[in-house]
């Protein structure tokens, strides 16, 4: 075989791969849908009547279940509801976010299936769906339980010491545990036991960090960010990856920073309406998805022959 023939074949492979990816990419409609659903979320943050006094620090709650025989109070929707924003109906907020995540995952899967059968190219969405469901179960099950059973008794609702301690424990346990469990060869039982015990502690500390990382009360947006990063890997698209990373940054800002400060700096006044507070937190990630989705849609149309 000549070298020119090898170059020609490699170029042909690259051309076919580019064309297939272009035809397969279909991420922009789910992005637009999720962006609109996130932007619409402030509508469910109804105002309490009467309003609390300024400076009164109150945590709000979704329904609480008592775990029989343990004395533990467990709020499964806690991570879906508001944390410090006082709203008329925290359960309505939590159910809205639950629906956004469930609907977002389901609609994305249905869309990809429909488009795959129409175009003749199916995208493997199983990992995206599994990550979404795992994130959902994690927020509904593991994280509220960890918060109730471990974090609150140790650190209370918020603690700087808790953050640093959790981060330190995570680093100290996650890396050696991953190394201990590395590879497929048979390991001594003690190494397996230590590795999995380390992983369990790492998961606990990571859960604690995630609880603090969603302190402003928009954890579902973080789950969507992780799912979109997985989608970008499945799509093997640089643009999808860039939008997912920007959205991830927006989701972190929404969860970590009190956006009322921005409003205060701009206007010198306080925001009292919880819908405005939620809007201030969500406008950035929603805008990333809506603008990014629209740009990706235009790029997809322009790339068509």
């Amino acid at each position: 075989m000549t070298d020119d023939a090898a170059v020609t074949l490699l170029n042909e492979v690259a051309r076919v791969r580019r064309r297939t990816r272009r035809d397969r990419h279909a991420y922009w409609p789910p992005m637009l849908l999720l962006g609109v659903l996130i932007l619409a979320a402030p509508l469910v943050y109804g105002q309490t009547v009467p309003q609390p006094k300024l400076g009164v620090f109150t945590a709000v709650s979704t329904p609480i279940w008592r775990i029989p025989g343990t004395g533990l109070a467990y709020a499964p929707l806690q991570l879906f509801g508001p944390r410090f924003v006082l709203v008329a109906d925290p359960t309505a907020v939590a159910l809205y976010w639950l629906c956004v995540v469930v609907l977002g995952i389901a609609a994305t899967m249905v869309w990809y299936r429909w488009r795959g059968s129409r175009v003749g190219l199916e995208t493997p969405t199983r990992t995206f769906v599994l990550v979404g469901i795992a994130g959902l179960l994690y927020l509904l099950g593991i994280l509220p339980l960890v918060a109730t059973a471990v974090m609150f008794p140790l650190f209370g609702y918020f603690s700087a010491l808790g953050i640093w301690l959790s981060a330190a424990i995570f680093v100290v346990t996650a890396v050696p545990s991953a190394l201990a469990l590395r590879g497929h060869e048979r390991r001594p039982i003690w190494r397996d036991a230590l590795g999995w015990a380390g992983m369990a502690i790492a998961l606990l500390s990571a859960s604690s960090l995630l609880f603090y990382a969603s302190i402003e009360g928009f954890a579902p947006v973080l789950v969507i960010a992780v799912a979109l990063l997985v989608l970008a890997m499945i799509e093997r698209s640089a643009l999808c990856g860039a939008i997912a990373v920007l959205f991830g940054i927006g989701a972190l800002v929404a969860n970590l920073y009190n956006m009322e400060n921005v409003y205060f700096r701009l206007s010198g006044g306080y925001v009292e309406d919880p819908r405005l507070i939620a809007f201030a937190h969500l406008v950035l990630p929603a805008a990333v998805l809506i603008i990014g989705g629209a740009v990706a849609g235009v790029v997809a149309r322009m790339a068509k022959p």
Partner: protein, 106 residues
Amino acid sequence: MNDHPTAGLDDVVHQKHRLAILTVAAEAKRVEFGYLQRTLDVTKGNLSRHITVLADAGLLKVEKGYDGKTPKTWVHITSTGRRALADEINTLRALVARHDQAGAES
């Protein structure tokens, strides 16, 4: 002494259309016959023969079914197929690299 890179070429994979079929299949969960025909610009009979060769070698799996009342044929790449595709591309790259190296030395 190192073997010449061409020793790594697989006759089943090392054919323009079959390489393209594997490349497309590796980018998706499964691919419909019609899409392959449009992308590769080949006749139905020709495409069928190439798919049969790849399926007989265990590099592709073929599924036949219906979309409503329309019969459809889908193919998906096997793990052996993915390895064969990666090996072929690595071999082609090695050939080109060897050529570039020889050109730089002369």
